[in-house]
């Protein structure tokens, strides 16, 4: 018992792993093609994980497994958001995948494995566990993109994702090995200590840093390492796109925080310069290229790239303001893109994908409520005031200004204005154009209810952002022991 109780902070991960293994086996004996029991088990597992995470929360920072695992407020908040995001993704994609014959036990097991990878990344305090968590996540995602085997475009997307992802992992590992060579340790906190006190080989560290930042940029999809994002978002079945575009961004945020902020804080002068380039290029290229897209999934992919630029802006401004704003931005981005991809899946039906802009023409005449929800989501992504997207952009920009990077803030605002064009174009198509198709929209009650709540949450959080924003700030403050 005493050994088990020492594992207390990692109960959620252990529970999830046990449940995935059980679900994998149980699913083999279930013959119902709708997979109702498996689906219910998966949702119950997510509920159980969230209950365990809440009940095992401890004040302060707790290390486990020889400082390889860390449990703090930031990790708990990010994990709760990941459970919620994965659970919503399953509700949205259930019917979509079912009519395409992809709603299988393997799909759900891989989703949970990906979630486990995210949790490991979020709670990692050792370069080895960070890397293993990332591989667990990526490997599950590569396979999920390829699950639709009859689709040539999905296979191509999976191939690109796999090869570029492997390249990025290689870059990341190479950089990590340089840190190990320079400091003699892989523990995040020890690396930071060694750099502060020991003054080891600086050139080797910076050389490693270049590789680590490139690897991170690949995984985040920041320009100039963004080439895979549009193809993968477009080619993958929309449910998989939604999974790639949502919860992993939270894990990626944690990854950036653990490596750059906790481990390499003494090198901040070096990496913040690199992040400036990545952030500005991402915001510029993402917003401008998105205008030219006629496919909504590709458009959302470029929009993701620009959002990642904003996230990096928050990280590079530093301090509780900056990190808190970046965390808030990541969470808000996840909420908005859940809604965006959810809408594509709601309007799709058997043999038809509602992923071109023309499919949204006159949506107001076909379903006024869905058009209104989409309007809320698009306004929020564009950063129109009452929505939460505005507040997320605002908090990042104020952190950037407080850190003294006023030109950066001006550039970000200018490109957001350009970006507002393509979000508002969808609103124009929905409200002022005549519909091209009059096929009645049939919506499952669960996903219909969820998208309404999703849209209203974007509005409600925008009106009252204070509570969640302070949760993010406190989480960052407690985890990084900043004052």
């Amino acid at each position: 018992m005493s050994f088990l109780s020492t594992l207390f902070p990692a109960y959620a991960e252990i529970f999830l792993l046990v449940m995935v293994s059980a679900i994998l086996i149980v699913d083999l004996f279930l013959t119902n093609p709708n997979k109702t029991v498996t689906y219910a088990l998966v949702q119950l597992t997510l509920l159980g994980c969230s209950m365990i995470t809440v009940s095992t929360h401890q004040h302060g920072v707790v290390y486990l497994f020889h400082n390889m695992f860390v449990d703090d407020l930031m990790s708990d908040v990010l994990k709760m958001l990941s459970y919620l995001s994965v659970s919503m993704m399953l509700v949205y994609s259930r019917n979509y995948l079912m009519v395409r014959g992809l709603f299988t036990g393997e799909f759900m097991a891989l989703t949970l494995f990906a979630l486990l990878g995210m949790m490991v990344m979020i709670s990692a305090s050792h370069f080895l566990t960070l890397y293993l968590g990332l591989e667990l996540l990526s490997l599950s995602l590569y396979a999920m993109v390829a699950l639709q085997r009859d689709s040539a475009i999905a296979t191509e997307a999976a191939m690109k994702y796999f090869i570029l992802g492997a390249l990025a992992s290689g870059l990341l590992l190479y950089g990590m090995s340089m840190f190990y060579g320079a400091t003699g340790t892989l523990e995040v906190a020890a690396v930071s200590d060694a750099i502060t006190h020991g003054v080891p080989n600086k050139a080797l560290l910076v050389f490693g840093l270049v590789f680590v930042v490139s690897g991170l940029a690949f995984k985040l999809g920041a320009v100039p390492f963004h080439m895979w994002v549009p193809d993968v978002y477009h080619g993958a079945p929309t449910a998989m796109t939604m999974l790639i575009g949502t919860a992993p961004k939270l894990a990626a945020f944690a990854f950036v925080m653990r490596i750059l902020v906790e481990g390499l804080q003494p090198l901040m002068v070096h990496w913040s310069g690199m992040l400036v380039i990545l952030a500005v290029l991402s915001i510029a290229v993402g917003n401008i290229t998105a205008i030219a897209q006629t496919n909504l999934k590709r458009m959302l992919a470029y929009s993701t790239i620009s959002h990642m630029g904003f996230l990096l802006l928050g990280v590079l401004s530093g301090g509780i303001d900056g990190y808190g704003a970046a965390m808030f931005y990541a969470a808000v981005y996840v909420l908005m893109s859940l809604g965006g991809f959810g809408m594509i899946m709601l309007l799709s039906r058997e043999g038809f994908e509602a992923d071109t802009l023309n499919d949204y023409k006159g949506l107001n005449q076909r379903s006024p409520w869905l058009a209104f929800v989409m309007l809320l989501l698009m306004f929020s992504m564009a950063g129109v005031p009452p929505m939460v997207g505005f507040y997320a952009k605002f908090s990042v920009l104020s952190a950037v200004v407080n850190a003294g990077h006023i030109p950066l803030a001006v550039i970000a605002v200018l490109f957001s204005l350009i970006g507002a064009f393509y979000y508002l174009r969808i609103v124009k198509l929905m409200y002022f154009d005549a519909p091209e198709s009059h096929v009645p929209i049939s919506i499952q009650p669960d996903s219909g209810l969820l998208i309404s709540m999703n849209g209203l949450a974007v509005l409600a959080l925008g009106i009252m952002p204070g509570t969640f924003m302070s949760v993010c700030a406190v989480a960052v403050q407690q985890s990084l022991l900043l004052h």
Binding site: T104, E106, L110, F113, V120, L139, S140, A182, G184, A203
Partner: protein
């Protein structure tokens, strides 16, 4: 120059030579064999670093198993060399320029400062120190968490491989012995009562 350093340079030169031949060899089988040589000399370098377990594993697993499988695959596939080399010379100058820029940048960054007497030092061990035993101890104690995670990654690989390659084809001619044994006479034989003595058709009788 000590004996250790001499051996290191010898092995390092061999590794670089073999690695270069992997990408320049015309015949894929030769390339695979040069890769074996590169692995082998790398194993020697590991031996110099007192990492004998890694050296042995590299030879056993990579040389012994992975590369043999790889050779099988190379020999089974009918690789069209002409097609593979298409456009090589067209892109060659471009690649050379890119590589030269990268080499220049690296030399510039690393050479401008004193980088030779680098980072953390590793303690030397006595001759009876067992690297294998030490790894075994660490992997199940201090590193048990990453060890388990690696196991989960392998599990995902298995699930993914099966999910991506298992296809129930309707037209496959596989046998199901249980079905064959459980078959009954009624499933296979159908008795048709053919009416006899009637006219088979119009015509020939008369």
């Amino acid at each position: 120059m000590s004996f250790d350093t001499l051996v290191f340079y010898l092995l390092a030169a061999l590794t670089v030579f073999a690695a270069l031949r992997v990408i320049t060899a015309r015949n894929p089988v030769h390339a695979a064999l040069f890769l074996v040589l590169a692995f082998f000399s790398t194993a020697g370098i590991w031996m110099l670093l007192e990492a004998e377990f890694l050296a042995i594993t590299l030879v056993l697993v990579y040389v012994g198993a992975v590369m043999v499988l790889f050779l099988f695959v190379v020999m089974m596939l009918d690789i069209n060399l002409v097609q593979l080399r298409e456009g090589f010379w067209r892109w060659f100058p471009f690649g050379v320029v890119l590589a030269a820029i990268m080499v220049f940048e690296m030399v510039w960054v690393l050479g401008s400062r004193q980088t030779v007497e680098t980072g953390a030092q590793v303690a030397k061990h006595a001759a009876d120190y067992s690297n294998t035993k030490e790894l075994g101890r660490l992997i199940y104690t201090e590193y048990v968490y990453p060890f388990e995670l690696a196991a989960v990654v392998l599990l995902v690989a298995i699930v993914a491989a099966i999910a991506l390659s298992l296809r129930h084809r309707r037209d496959s001619k596989s046998q199901d012995v249980a079905k064959q044994v459980a078959v009954r006479r009624e499933d296979r034989v159908r008795i048709v009562s053919v009416p006899s003595g009637k006219k088979a058709g119009p015509g020939i009788e008369d």
